[in-house]
């Protein structure tokens, strides 16, 4: 079990579960509490002190314990090693029973009971499978994909429909079961076939010299089934036109192997093909984590007292092996690897995630603007872009922990890990679902976290927040001196100028590194194009939801004056910030401190806070981008309660890479400054062009 003892993460197994397939693979699911470092901010007690030269707040790194679900798939031959591993880590557990399912539950029962001293409790396979399927459909976006035989992109991922039922689960194990799933607890077996994976393997072993499943698959990929199968064109000489059956369809499998003159070589290969002809609206869909469903489901069943279904979970890209191509010709090595040792990790999220109630159609909402699995040119650009930025990110990560003796070492490990992920994605863009700028950013955050860099920008953010706060009052004064119309433009311009200050954008971080004095006014002058005040014309809104972007100038000099203006108009404001750190984005806990400090200077903000007209919430996310279908439940509740009628989304990550095309039920304003010349080019503008998208839903 080489990959389990990861650096800095101590495993504390509190629950384990086995799925033992009768065949060759064992799947192990366990629940661990992962101890990792998180950055925390805490406000100093400033009362009566001169705060001129003090940092704004205190940053501390603390140990936090979070729950993580691990799923591992490995060949049965490693089972003893695996049991030893579990024995070693089986601490603090009150569990006296280990759950197991599948044919192997019988086979390995004695071994497990002897080694671990735990009683083996068997669970029903299909029930587990269905539970697992429901779980991944709910918690893993881009879990489901369609397979396209004759297309550039092999896999096409689907967005998860908010209502996953009803569906038909066709489980192809050694045999085939077809189950109709209507609700979480209501499902029935409606048919099946004994011709399944076991038949392929069994027949393959009888007919060829190859005896292992993976090798049989490889062999089959090299074979030509038309030498063995009788096709429609072998019978008709062409297509069977009356029925519209193509000549290439198989009329009779193995139908040609009867004719003596067509001998099959000693190492002759066979291919079992399964033709499913769907009619109408039915589509054959596959799951990225098909192999884990049983283990996940049985785990959920066993962990019912902990009720994992009440939480939301997120796939940890750093700890999960991706989906591999089905074409062994292209990447034979990777295919073999994934067949023998494969992992999935899911982090338990602190709070449940739900749809933004204002989404126009949650079932068709796709957060990401560009699908990089589809767009080869954009993919190439972004992968290169992330590769080129990697050294800098690693350097910054190391620099963020000057007191740590092994920071350099960990930064290098991070660099290698993310580099490898990027290389995997170059070859298999679909490895983790649809490849997007968001998934690239999120993977980077996950990798940083894995090597205990919870918040590389914490000090930068702290410093910038301090500087910006000092300018707040003068910015407000100059705004207040303007006439109404002028002020609206200045506010919008300020909002956009603030957004220039973004360490996540390479073009900007270069400027900020070399010209630390680069100021708010200069940023304003760099902007290409202008916004409009359309959003604040007309009667005031009831409540505005603002998704904030960066710390420092962006939130304090850009967003807050705008918030203040909205409040003065009588519009309530919900300010949503990330739950966890991502780049230099302002986090919820930072926003609390910043707001408190602004309130101390500004009576409008102060009274709004007191009267709960300005509400600070967390998004539930730790991503530089924004998925409106996975937001903190508290936020959603508040949005509904306050009858939110305006949504403002700010920044490249949230308004361009994601949500550019998001349709909402209410008015929305998406604004960002394009800080990437390639993207600016692509959108037909210049760098530092302004995106200002004000949308009113049609009635």
């Amino acid at each position: 079990m080489p990959n389990l003892d990861k650096w800095g993460i101590s495993l504390n197994l509190s629950f384990i579960f086995f799925l033992l397939t009768g065949g060759s693979l064992t799947k192990l699911a366990y629940y661990s509490t992962v101890q990792h470092k998180v950055a925390r901010v805490r406000s100093f007690d400033h009362s009566g002190k001169d705060i001129e030269n003090e940092p704004l707040y205190e940053i501390s790194v603390q140990e936090e314990i979070t729950a993580r679900l691990h799923f591992i798939k490995f060949e049965n031959t490693y089972i003893e090693t695996c049991l030893d591993f579990i024995k070693d880590h089986l601490v603090n557990t009150e569990t006296k029973v280990i759950k197991a399912t599948g044919g192997g539950a019988y086979k390995f029962k004695d071994l497990i009971e002897k080694k671990l001293g735990l009683k083996v409790d068997k669970e029903d396979v299909m029930t587990c499978l269905i539970k697992g399927c429901n779980f991944v459909l709910r918690n893993i976006p881009h879990e489901v994909f369609a397979y396209q035989k004759d297309s550039d992109t092999e896999f096409r991922f689907q967005t998860n429909h908010p209502n996953i039922f009803p569906y038909l689960l066709v489980n192809i194990g050694s045999g085939v079961s077809i189950v109709k799933v209507e609700t979480e607890d209501k499902f029935e077996w409606i048919g099946g076939s004994s011709i399944g994976g076991g038949t392929f393997w069994g027949l393959g072993a009888l007919l060829t010299k190859t005896k292992k499943f993976d090798e049989l698959l490889q062999l089959a990929s090299k074979g030509q089934h038309t030498n063995v199968d009788m096709l429609v064109k072998d019978v008709y000489g062409g297509a069977y036109q009356t029925l519209g059956l193509s000549g290439n369809l198989i009329a009779s499998s193995f139908g040609k192997s009867t004719t003596a003159d067509k001998g099959i070589g000693p190492s002759g290969t066979i291919q079992l093909q399964c033709f499913i002809l769907w009619q109408g609206e039915v589509q054959a869909l596959f799951l990225r984590h098909e192999g884990y469903l049983g283990a996940i489901g049985a785990f959920l069943k066993g962990a019912e007292q902990d009720n994992p279904n009440q939480y939301s979970w997120g796939e940890n890209y750093a700890g999960s092996s991706g989906l591999m191509s089905t074409s062994p010709d292209v990447y034979p090595m990777q295919r073999t690897r994934s067949g023998t040792f494969d992992m999935l990790e899911m982090d338990r999220l602190e709070r449940p995630l739900v749809n933004l109630p204002l989404l126009k159609d949650p079932s068709t909402y796709i957060p990401d603007t560009v699908d990089l699995t589809d767009d080869a040119m954009a993919r190439k650009y972004w992968l290169t872009c992330f590769e080129e930025a990697l050294d800098g990110v690693a350097k910054r990560a190391a620099a963020s922990q000057p007191d740590s003796i092994d920071a350099l070492q960990r930064a290098e490990k991070f660099r290698q890990k993310y580099w490898n992920k990027l290389q995997t994605l170059r070859q298999q863009p679909f490895a983790y679902g649809t490849l997007t700028v968001r998934s690239l950013l999120d993977t980077r955050e996950h990798c940083l976290n894995e090597f205990n860099f919870p918040d590389p920008y914490s000090k930068v953010k702290q410093k910038e927040n301090g500087i910006a706060l000092k300018c707040f009052q003068s910015v407000i004064e100059s705004l207040d001196s303007l006439g109404w119309e002028e002020r609206q433009f200045a506010l919008v311009k300020g909002l956009l100028a603030g957004n220039v200050f973004d360490w996540g954008a390479k073009a900007v971080s270069d400027v900020l590194e070399s010209e630390p004095q680069f100021g708010f006014e200069e940023a304003k002058s760099k902007l290409q194009g202008r916004g409009s005040s359309a959003a604040v014309e007309g009667p005031p809104h009831k409540c505005a939801l603002i998704f904030a972007d960066n710390s420092g100038i962006d939130i304090i000099l850009g967003v807050f004056p705008f918030v203040r203006e909205l409040l003065s108009r009588g519009t309530e404001v919900i300010l949503a910030c990330n739950s966890g750190p991502a780049l230099n984005d302002v986090t919820y806990s930072e926003s609390l401190i910043v707001t408190e400090r602004i309130a101390a200077m500004d009576p409008v903000i102060q009274s709004a806070l007191r009267e709960e007209k300005l509400l600070l919430v967390q998004t539930g996310s730790s991503s530089p981008c924004l998925d409106l279908s996975r937001l903190d439940k508290g936020l959603a509740v508040l949005v509904r309660e306050r009858k939110t009628d305006l949504v403002i989304i700010e920044g490249m990550g949230r308004a361009i890479h994601t949500n550019y095309y998001a349709a909402l039920k209410c008015e929305s304003l998406k604004l960002a400054v394009i800080k990437n010349s390639w993207l600016a080019d692509r959108l037909g503008g210049k760098i530092f062009s302004v995106i200002f998208k004000y949308e009113v839903p049609c009635k």
Binding site: S194, G198, L206, V235, A251
Partner: protein, 370 residues
Amino acid sequence: NEQINGPAFFFPWFGLDIGGTLVKLVYFEPKDITAEEEEEEVENLKSIRKYLTSNVAYGSTGIRDVHLELKDLTLCGRKGNLHFIRFPTHDMPAFIQMGSEKHFSSLHTTLCATGGGAYKFEQDFRTMGDLQLCKLDELDCLIKGVLYIDSVGFNGHSECYYFENPTDAERCQKLPFNLENPYPLLLVNIGSGVSILAVYSKENYKRVTGTSLGGGTFFGLCCLLTGCSTFEEALEMASHGDSTKVDKLVRDIYGGDYERFGLPGWAVASSFGNMMSKEKRESVSKEDLAKATLITITNNIGSIARMCALNENINRVVFVGNFLRINTISMRLLAYALDYWSKGQLKALFLEHEGYFGAVGALLELLDSA
């Protein structure tokens, strides 16, 4: 060649069904030939009649199924016997050659043929045999043939039958079934591959689905697995084998029934599933493998047929096609499986002339075209 009755009544009357594996030929032998006609009958027509009716085997592979012959049939006002002949499709070139040598083209302007081979060999018929084929759709012919043969009966007996107590060797009985009101009907034609049709009336039917795992798969796999070379040999081997050594049953996985989903322990969970293991591969005989192949193919067809019947809301399922020829194992299994899995809702029916309905349909088309 002066005939007074018009071209449709030219003898000989043939119907041809050229399938993926077998060619089925039906021949109507007129028994009411008048002396005058006999006089006029050209020499090669007479020789064809004599050749076909006086032999039961043709060449090394052609066979006349004497036991299926329909006697004293009246077709288009003529009385005669209907003969059923089959030979492998790979001997098609020899057949065309023979037709050419016997100057078949001088007798007849068109030959009605159905099956994929009617298309595939059309060119050969024209160039080698100087014969113009009348190509007919195989499913049209199949249904026409089934309805006709069932209506005339089998020499006074019922064409259609079913099995009572299909799994009980002692009590199993083949009993006649009255198919007078045939509609709606699920027709499962098991040739090299399988087609499943839902028939609502003489003209109204649709192909519901099909599977490529059919008779050709059974025979092909048996050849590869056992080294046998004929269908008969494959079936003979299968009758002495034990498929449970080869297949993985529900009880092999669960130790008994899989109660949560109501699956009995004896049901096959994974066909050939035991063959994943080396020891088990070494302990099975060729007979076991042949039996497992037969059971696999049959169960699969049964299961697809059951789902179609359920979807189409039809409870009578008629199985035809040459896969069922001398194949009581499959017929009984189909009868049992359909009954068991549908909890008695579905009935499996069989027809005596198994694989010949397409050819009969082609012959009827010929006569109808007059």
